[in-house]
Symmetry: C4
Subunit: 372 residues, 4 copies
C-alpha cells in the first residue's frame, strides 16, 4: 500500500466552514460540484445546516464538571465520542488517498466510519487500515440494494468477511434526486475514480416500455427495495442492519417491527428530494415514535460541536458528518479528516462544559432554550 | 402553414429557472418586461413561487412503487399527467412560431393547453395543430367577456366549431392591474403581433363622464362581468365553463351554485392585484369550501415537480404553468416548450417516488411536512 | 404672487417609489436627509411601509361594480377620496414653490391638506390658494403647542381667520427624536427657508439647571403639552381639534373623553421614537378602542393604493401621505404633487375593483386575507 | 500618573454604531478582532443586538413629564442613571490610557464601572482615579475564580483595600469559547499589554492525562468553580458578591438561595457559547424566577437608549455596556468613553419622554408593544 500523502492544515482553517471555503478553492469545479451540491434548488441542503444553527442552547453555570467525557454507548460498544463519518462516495475525487485516508484519520480520532458502497477504494483495503487502530470506533458498510440481488448478497458477504460490524441500508434513494447543479455543470467521474466495489455488477436489463409507461415507475422503480427486501437482507447476514434515510414516524415504527438495529435520520444531505424537511426538525418525531426501541442517529448539516450537542439533546445516539470530512480530505488528506474530527470533538466538549453538561447521557431536551 | 423553426436547448439549461435566466438574455427588454412582469411591486408574483418552495414534502421509504404513474382524471378524461399550459397572450412576441409551437409541444407531451383570447395566432390554426396529436391532452379556450356581448358569442361559437373542449372564463381582471414595470419601460406590442382572434371587435363607446365620476367605475367597470354573465355564458354554449381567478371560498361556493365545470385558483400570475395571497395559500381553502363539488386547478409560481406534487397533495386536480413555457418558447421554440413540460414531468415522477407515492390519487395533505 | 413653475413628470416615474428614487437624485443631500430620514436606526420608518405591504388583500370576483366611487364622509363633509396631504415642514427646501404648489395640487386633485406649523410659506397665502379651488378637500392646520401659549393663541386665531377648518395638534413630539442621520450629515436649514408662521415667537427662557437636573426633563419638558392643554386649546377655538400621534388605546379613550374631533394614528413618519410600532399594527387597536366615537385617520408608509384600501379596511376614515408628495414636489413642483395624488387614487380604484369593493363603506376587515 | 490624552470625537460620530464603524477603521486588525469578535459563528453576538431592536416600544402622549429623571436605586445607592461599564479586558489595546480613561469618563458621567480582572492597568490605579470623582457611580471588581485560590483571596483583599464596592463573579466561562475569529487571525496580546493584576499567579500544574482522558474535562475543568466556590468567596469577603452570566431560572434560584447580592444576565457578549439565547430573551424569565429577591442587571447588545428603556421595562435594575465604550476609547480616549455614555443617557431620556415615562420606576412591561 502506498504511504499516505503528508498533508498540512492550511493557515487560517480553524472551523469546518473554513475547510469548506478552502476546499472550494482547491477542488476542481467538477469535484466541487459533486461534493457540495444538493438536489434541485438546494433548499433542503441549506435548511439542514440552518435548522441546527437556529436551535438555541441553554447554558447552566457552576455545576460539577470534573470527570466529564464524551463517551456514548452504541450497539453494545462504548465509543470515545458520538461522531461517525457518513458514507461519502468516490473520495478519490477529493484526494488521491481517498477513503483510505479517511479511514486512518477516523480510526486515529476514535470516530466510527460508514464506508460507501460507491467507495473508490476496495472495502477490504479500507477495513484493513481501519481495523488496525486500537482506539478505533465502529466500522460499518453502507449498502444500496442493487437490482442484482445475487451481487448484493456477495457484497454483504465480502463486508462480513472484511470485518465490517454493521450494514447501513440506504432507503431514501430509490432514484437519484434532481441533481441540477451536476447536470448543469456536466459532471462526470474522472477516469481514475470508479465504484471499485461494484465491479462485476451486471447492468440492468434494457427497458422495453409500452407507450404511456414511465421509464421511472415501470423501469427503475420496478426493482426498488421495499420493506420485504429489508427482511431479506436481515435473513442473509449475521450483521446488524440499520436503515438510513427514515424521515417519517410511521416508517420508523415499521422498522421497529422488523427489529432493525438502528435508524439514521437523514435526507441524504439534501441530495435527493428538495424541500424535504431538515433532519433537525424530524429527529424529535422519530425519537418519540420509537420510544427507545433502537438507537437513532442523524446526519445533515452538522457543522459545529454545538450542533452535535443539540442533536444529542434531541435524542440522537450518535451523529454522522459527510461533506465536512470530504473537504478536510481535499485540503490535507488524512490530516485534514482528522482535523475536522478533532475540531468537532473539541467544540462538543466546550459546548458541554458551557451548558453544565459533563456527560452526553445528561443531554436532554431541556438543554435547548425555547423562545417565547 | 410554415414549418416550425428547429430549436435547440441551450447548454446548461436543465431547470425552469435556467430557462427563465436564459430567456432574460434572449428576449428583448420589451418582451421580457411583458412576460416576466407583475403588478405593482410584484409582491404577489414573488410570493406565488416562494409559497410552493416553503411547503415541505414528507418522504416515505420502502413502499411498493412499481406501476406508479402520473395519470389523473379531469372532466371525464384521463390525462397522462396533470400539467396544462396556462393561457399566455401574444406568444409571437416570444418566438415567431408563437402559440403554434406551444400547441405542438403540449400535444406531443400529453399536456393540456388553454389558449388565450389574446393569442397572436388564430384559434382555428392552433386547434388544428393540437388536435392532430394522438396523445394530446385537453384543449380549452380562455375567454374574457368583452363589452361587446355579440362578439363574445361569436368567439364562443368559433371555439366550439374549432374543437375546443371547454371555456375558461377569466374573472379576476375586470380592469388591468397596475403594471408599473410595463409602464416604466414604455411597453408596446411590436407591429407583427396582435390579438388576431379579436379582429372585428368594436371599440367601446367613448366615455362621457360627469364631473366627479370615475373613468374606471363609471366607464370600464360599468360593463364588467358579474355572476349573471356567467349564467349567460353557460346558456349560449354546450361547452363546460370553468372560472379562472377565484380566490375566496364564498366565490367558490357561488360558482358551485351555478354548476360551473371547474375552478382555477389563480391570481393571474401576480399581474393584477399586488399583495393578493399566493395561490398555494388559497388552494386548500377553496378545496375545502367545495368539498369535491368540482375539480379545482391552480396556477401561479409552480416551477418544480415538487411544487406540482404539493399542489396535488393540497387537493388540486391539475395545475397550469404559464411564464415557464413562454421562456422555453423564447429559448427554443416548440422544443423549448416540450423541454419545460418534460422537466416538470420528470421532476414530478422523482418527487412521487421519493415520497413513496406511486399515484397522484394517493397525494393527500399528509404528504406535506408540518413544522412544529 | 409669483406664478408656479411649470414642472414635468420625469420619464419612467410611474409610482411613488419612482418619485422617491428620482427625488433622491434631484434633491441636494441636505434636503434629502431632512425629508427622507427618520429617527435613530430608522427601524420604525421601514416598518411603516413594510407593514402595509405585508397585509394581504382578498380578491372577490364577478360583483356588481358599476357606480362605484372613492367618496368618504369626514367631519361632516363628503370628500372625493380619502387622501390628505400630511403636514410636512419647510417645503421650500424641496421646491421654490413649496407649500403653495402642494396646496394648488391638492385642491385640484380633491385632496385635503394639513398645513404644517413649520411651513415655509405663510398660512394665509396657502389658504388663499387652496380655498379658491371648487373641488377642494378640507384644509386643516397642524399645531405644536409652543412654550409661549400667547403666541399659540394668536396662531390659532390666524388659522381661523384664514379659513382653516380644523386644528391638528401633534402630540407625539414633546421632544425631537434622535435624528441621527441629520446630525451625522450636519443638516441645517438653507438661508431662504424658515418657519415663517412662527416669526415673533419668543425663544424659551434660558435654562438654569441645578446639578443632577436634566436639560430635557427639567427644561424642555417642563412645558410640554398635557391633556389639560388639549382642553385649553379646545376652549380657545371654535374649530374642531384632532390629535395626531396617538398610538395607545388608553390615550385614544382619553381623547374621546375630551370629545376631540378625531385622531390621527401616526408615529411621525418614524421621525421621533425609533422602534415604535408601525401604524398599520396600531390602527386596529385604536379603532376598536374608540368603537366609532370619532374618525380615525392614519399615516406612515402608505405608498400604494392597495395600502390605502387596507387602511380603510382596518377602520381608517381617511389617510395622510407625507414624504411621497414632498418627493413629487421636488421632482415637478405642483404637477409632481398632483401626479402623486393621482397615482394613489388610480391605484386605489383598481384595488377596489379587483377586491370587488365598489365603495369604501364596504371596506371591512374581511377584505384582508389572513394567512393560516 | 501620565495625564490623559486629549481626544476628539470624530466628525459624523453621533451614535454607538458610528463609534463602532470608526473604531473598525482605527484599531489595528489584531485589536479589532479581539474587541469585536464573538464565539464561533457569532450567532449569539448578532442576536443580542437584534433582540433589543426587535422589541417595540409603546408610545404614550400628553402625560406629565416635568421633573422626570433617570435615577435608579442599586445596592443601597442612588445612581444618576442605570448605565454601568461592563468588564472589558486589556483596554490598553484600544488606547494607551486604557482602563484609566474609562474610569475617569465613567465617573464624570455618573456611570458605574466594573473593572475586569484582566485589566491592563492596576486595580489600585483605576480605583484611585474613579473614586476621586464626586458624582461617580459604583465601582465593582470583576473576578474569575483562578485555579489558585490563595491568589484569588489576595486579589479580593486588594480590591477591598482599593475601595471596590462589590465583586462580580463571572460564572459563564469555565472554559474559553470557540473564539474562531481570533484563532483565524492569529490574535495575540501586544507586548505592552498584559493582565497586570494577575502578576504572580502560578501557572496551573502541567496535565498528566491518561489515554482517553479529556484535556478539558480532566484538566482545566477539574478546578472550575462550582456553587460551593461561590459560598467560599462570600465567606472571605465583606463585599457583596454578584454573579455574572446566569441564564437559567433554576440557576437564578440557586443564587438566591445563596443570598448573593445580584445577578447579571449575560452571555459574555456572545464570546463563549454560540447559539446561547440573546439576553433580552432571557431577562424576563430570570426576573420572574427571582420575584424581586435581588437586583437583576443585564448586558449584551445594548446600543441605544431605547434598548436600555426596554431592558428596564423587562425588569432590569441596571444595564452594562461593553464593546461600545471600548470603541469610544479607541476613537477618542476618555472623551470617547464619555461620549458613548452621554449618547446613551440622552437617548434614554428621549425614549422615556416619548413613551410618557418620566421615571424608570414607571418602566413596566406595558411599555412594550406586543404585536398581534
Amino acid at each position: 500500500m502506498t504511504p499516505l500523502a503528508v498533508g498540512q492544515i492550511p493557515a487560517g482553517v480553524v472551523t469546518l466552514a473554513d475547510h469548506e471555503a478552502h476546499a472550494h478553492s482547491r477542488l476542481g469545479s467538477n469535484a466541487w460540484t459533486y461534493f457540495s451540491g444538493g438536489a434541485a434548488d438546494e433548499i433542503t441542503l441549506r435548511a439542514n445546516a440552518s435548522a441546527w444553527s437556529r436551535h438555541l442552547l441553554q447554558p447552566r453555570v457552576l455545576r460539577q464538571l470534573a470527570g466529564g467525557h464524551t463517551r456514548v454507548e452504541l450497539l453494545g460498544r462504548t465509543l470515545a465520542h458520538p461522531i461517525l463519518l457518513a458514507p461519502v462516495a468516490f473520495q478519490r475525487m477529493a484526494h488521491p488517498d481517498g477513503e483510505l485516508a479517511s479511514a486512518y484519520a477516523a480510526a486515529a480520532q476514535g470516530a466510527g466510519m460508514v464506508l460507501s458502497t460507491q467507495a473508490s477504494i476496495s472495502l477490504e483495503t479500507v477495513a484493513k487500515a481501519f481495523l488496525g487502530e486500537a482506539q478505533r470506533g465502529p466500522l460499518w458498510f453502507q449498502l444500496y440494494l442493487q437490482h442484482d440481488r445475487g451481487f448484493t448478497r456477495e457484497l454483504v458477504q465480502r463486508a462480513e468477511a472484511a470485518g465490517y460490524e454493521a450494514l447501513v441500508l440506504t432507503v431514501d434513494a430509490p432514484t437519484s434526486g434532481a441533481r441540477d447543479r451536476e447536470r448543469r455543470a456536466g459532471f462526470c467521474l474522472p477516469p481514475h475514480v470508479s465504484a471499485v466495489n461494484l465491479e462485476g455488477l451486471r447492468p440492468p436489463a434494457p427497458l422495453a416500455l409500452q407507450p404511456g409507461q414511465s421509464a421511472l415507475f415501470d423501469g427503475l422503480l420496478a426493482t426498488a427495495p421495499t420493506w420485504d427486501d429489508v427482511a431479506w437482507l436481515q435473513s442473509i447476514t449475521r450483521l446488524p442492519v440499520l436503515l438510513k434515510g427514515v424521515l417519517h414516524p410511521g416508517d420508523a415504527r415499521q422498522a421497529a417491527a422488523l427489529q432493525v438495529a438502528g435508524l439514521i435520520v437523514s435526507n441524504h444531505g439534501g441530495r435527493t428530494l428538495d424541500t424535504a424537511p431538515a433532519t433537525a426538525a424530524v429527529l424529535p418525531r422519530i425519537v418519540q415514535a420509537l420510544a427507545g426501541a433502537m438507537p437513532v442517529l442523524v446526519d445533515g448539516g452538522l457543522r459545529r460541536g454545538t450542533d452535535i450537542l443539540k442533536a444529542m439533546a434531541l435524542g440522537a445516539s450518535a451523529v454522522l458528518v459527510g461533506r465536512p470530512y470530504a473537504y478536510g480530505l481535499a485540503n490535507a488528506g488524512a490530516l485534514g479528516v482528522a482535523h475536522v474530527l478533532r475540531l468537532l470533538r473539541d467544540e462538543l466538549e466546550i459546548a458541554m462544559a458551557l451548558c453544565g453538561c459533563p456527560t452526553l447521557a445528561q443531554a436532554t431536551p431541556e438543554l435547548l432554550f425555547t423562545p417565547d
